[in-house]
């Protein structure tokens, strides 16, 4: 093919930059392409996004990364879900586990039977039917399998990882496959006066680096996509009002839990992400409600264990670029948009952006049809995550706290309104085209946030009440037996991927 592009320039290292470099080096291996990554050691990486969702395993597998090596290198732990604490007020907590609840009967989704059981003498908790939840809460873990007949095929897992170490791990991977790294800060972005395409970037030492395709991984600033190309930004603060975060690392005082904790606070929420060697902590908050100092005081008072770093303050505006790809520039990571880490979607959105770029990989004609399709798909990803996040805030039960009262009374997007109405009406979960969150994810948060349907499916009445109770009890017992067979989370880490045995990877 003669009109092939030749040089790809990635501006910015960090998780997004090195994920992009690694993936491109995996698929562009013939020597036809030159991949260069520019980063400056003077510019720190944001370093959040340490919690992931199960899709990351797919990304690593595509790159041929050995999971044990990856976990050792990034000091990762297993993650089975996210526990939301205090989102309904008081000590209430619920989990969004990565897996199914029960299994469908007679073609009717399981949760309708569970809803019906709430009317009967024998009460069950929905979480009793989630193996992921039961493993998580009992601090146990075993790798799932693919046999659909096995109960161990009913859950998925992700990781808590050290994002900086992940970037280092991927840097080694990428450099081994020919990616060139240039140390330097981008000073100027040089546009072609006729086409408006990016011709080159000039570094602070006046080195000029030319490229055909530019990947903007410069973080919130969006050096290329926004500052140079000015694509515009959709501000979603009216739905997701948190716009600040403060993060700090602390030492581990206990064995790592196989789940992330999201603890509601007066002006936002606090995360706790247990790694093998430390704990990541942070407070995501709204600066209209509290000052940075107050936020830090709150976090500081709620971080057990010795703090290992100074507090790192971040500012952001929730939303996304109007265009993720413009001309010969694709934005990946924070430069494309920001959604708070409540559902650990940052790394997933990065990997989606990269994989979709490979699917839509351009030649030097940069067909507008490819760019439009990419933008449509990526914007849709952001939009779907947005709705899911808003649900957590909108259905909160924290009364008489200004921040939470405002969230509860805000006008929500029509797409979410329609979904909620349908679930509230009859427990039906609207099928979604999302590649990220599907039925069990929505169900976990609906029920967790006390969204109760007005009715359950009438077809559940085809099973007599006593028989239903028996079936539910059997499911519960099967899950209990499965949990009892599993080693602890810590034991699995030690046997599988302990960072203590980290080799020179």
């Amino acid at each position: 093919m003669s009109n092939r592009i030749k040089t790809i320039v990635i501006v910015g290292g960090g998780t997004a930059g090195w994920m992009a470099a690694a993936a491109l080096s995996r698929y562009l291996f013939s020597g036809h392409y030159h991949i260069r990554l520019i980063e400056s050691e003077q510019i720190g990486t944001v370093g959040v996004g340490e919690a992931t969702i199960p899709g990351i395993r797919d990304f690593n597998q595509k790159l041929g990364i050995n999971e044990n090596d990856f976990m050792r290198a990034t000091h990762a732990t297993f993650k089975l879900g996210i526990q939301f604490e205090g989102w309904n007020g008081g000590d209430d907590k619920y989990m969004h586990p990565f897996g199914f609840f029960g299994h469908e009967l007679n073609g009717v989704p399981f949760h309708h039977y569970w809803l019906k059981s709430q009317q009967l003498s024998h009460k069950f908790e929905l979480e009793e039917f989630s193996l992921a939840y039961q493993l998580a809460i009992n601090n146990k873990f075993k790798l799932p399998n693919n046999d659909p007949k096995s109960i161990f095929s009913t859950f998925f897992y992700a990781f808590h990882l050290d994002a900086s170490r992940y970037a280092v791990f991927l840097r080694k991977y990428a450099e081994n496959r020919g990616v060139l790294r240039t140390e330097g800060k981008v000073d100027t972005v040089n546009l072609n006066p006729e086409s408006g395409f990016i011709d080159s970037v000039t570094l602070d030492d006046r080195t000029q680096i030319k490229g055909d395709l530019f990947i903007d991984c410069s973080g919130f600033r969006g050096l290329l996509i926004e500052k140079a190309l000015g694509v515009g930004y959709q501000d979603w603060s009216h739905w997701l009002p948190c716009n600040r975060a403060v993060a700090v690392q602390s030492e581990s005082l206990e064995e790592p839990l196989p789940y992330t904790r999201a603890i509601a606070r007066d002006a936002g929420w606090q995360w706790r992400i247990p790694l093998q060697h430390r704990v990541g902590n942070g407070y995501v908050y709204c600066d209209k409600q509290i000052s940075d100092d107050e936020a830090w005081q709150t976090l500081n008072a709620n971080v057990p264990g010795k703090q290992l770093t100074e507090p790192n303050f971040l500012k952001f505006t929730t939303g996304r670029r109007d265009k993720i790809w413009e001309k010969n520039c694709v934005s990946v990571g924070l430069s494309s948009g920001f959604l708070e880490p409540l559902e650990s979607t940052s790394i997933h959105l990065i990997q989606t952006a990269i994989m979709k770029l490979i699917t839509h990989f351009p030649d030097n004609q940069f067909a507008q049809e490819d760019i439009d399709d990419y933008n449509q798909q990526m914007c849709s990803q952001f939009d779907q995550v947005k709705d899911f996040l808003i649900l957590h805030y909108f259905k909160n039960g924290r009364k008489d706290i200004p921040f939470w009262d405002e969230c509860r009374t805000m006008a929500i997007p029509d797409s979410l309104k329609e979904r909620l109405n349908l679930f509230q009406s009859s427990g039906h979960i609207q099928e979604c085209s999302s590649e990220i969150f599907v039925d069990p994810n929505w169900l976990a948060v609906y029920i967790g946030q006390k969204v109760k349907p007005n009715s359950y499916h009438p077809l559940t009445d085809t099973i007599p009440n006593e028989q239903l109770i028996n079936i539910l009890n059997q499911m519960k017992i099967a899950i209990g037996n499965a949990v009892s067979q599993c080693p602890t989370h810590q034991q699995t880490i030690q046997n599988y991927c302990s960072s203590a045995s980290e080799s020179n990877l």
């Binding site: 093919m1 698929y27 039906h428 009438p458």
Partner: protein, 469 residues
Amino acid sequence: MITSNKLYRLIVLGNTLEAWLAAAYIKRKMNHLVEITIVDNGQSNPIAQYINLGSTTHLFHKILGLTQNDMINFCEGKIHFGQSYYSIGDKSKSFFIPYSSSGFEKGFFHFHQLLSRINENFKNYNESYSINFALEKNNKVPSQSYRGPIPDYSFVVNSSRYHEKIKSIALSMGVQYIQSTNYQLKTDANGTINELTVDEEKIKNISHVINTLVNFDSQPNKKSSKASYRTVEIVNQESDYSDIALQWSLDEESIIKKQKLMGKQFIKGYHPIYLSMQQIEAIYSADNKTIAIIEDVISDTIEWSANKLNISLSNLETPPLVVCELEHFAASLADFIRLFTVEKNNTVNAKEFNRLVNQRQKSIDDLHHLILYQASSKLTPSTGVSSKIKKMIELYKTHGRFSLSPIEPVKAHYYFSVLIGNHLLPKSYHPLLDELDANQIKAEVKGLQNQIEIALQFTNNKGDLIPKR
């Protein structure tokens, strides 16, 4: 929470195939919870002589209790592995849509992109690389000793026999049947039908009404638009294609319109999809006077806007170039069951039902319009192509890419078959395909052709059952 645990009374209006299918399916799913009465008011939908059940309705028929044996022996069914399309204006643009996709995908790359990379002419990629096409062409079905994956297939059955079978199943399950032209429906203050009087007899507390009659007064609001299409009409024909052709019955209004358009009498209409290539050749090469091509047959594109779940399934019309009437109907019945609710005035579930049906209808219309769009411009209008399809075509034209939503009901290879079958080839292939070794791709493609040849050795003649897996 509203609890149910009660008996639902469903009224199905009409003595149509759809009526009996709906009654049998709902009864099977809801069992003792439902009491179903079919009211036959003497009207019935015109039913085609043969009906294609579609490749996605096997589970639907399993639920109904219909076996392959029933399909073949009782319903006079014939197995098909895809649909043949014959382009009237340009015979070279005839093509085949297999029910299973052809070739293989490799990472990010579609099969036709792989063929393009190795400079293979992929105009006939379905014909060369599809086990479905090979089976269809050779009139074979997989035998017990066949080891490959069973390709998707469909039954084309005698619709009268099929109707009869479904009716007997429904009656055996206890579906009530009343024949009467003297019936009356009564609505409550909310406009919900809650009472039916048939010859002085009253059925009260009706939960849902399923209307299978096209001209039922209380059918949901519909917005009709005309989608014109062309089909082959054989006038003054004496050929005997009736065993394979779908006889297309028309209502009075359409017949008058056709006569007006054509200026002469016609006898029967044949759906080109059901004609084999040889038979189409025979028609095409016949005296021109015996063939007329007509335009403008009314097809209502229905937009559902029912505000209650009292539905009219007969409006699930599909354009004739996409053979999926029964698939659409079965999927809509499944949606109906999924959204079945104890609340009679529940508008939320009705809205969701409408959304799902409309979404499916739209996709089917899109494929239909794509078929027309790609056919000869001399003969076929290109109006009606949605902006979604136009974007798809433009995207495909650059590098052969194609993007579909994960919940899109029409499969991607249907679109490819139409695009490629009509000579619409991409300008180039995916740039990253140059990273792959062409010789390796060639070897894999050759391997696929060998596999198809070997697979054909383990087949039986059509008419036999497909082995269960």
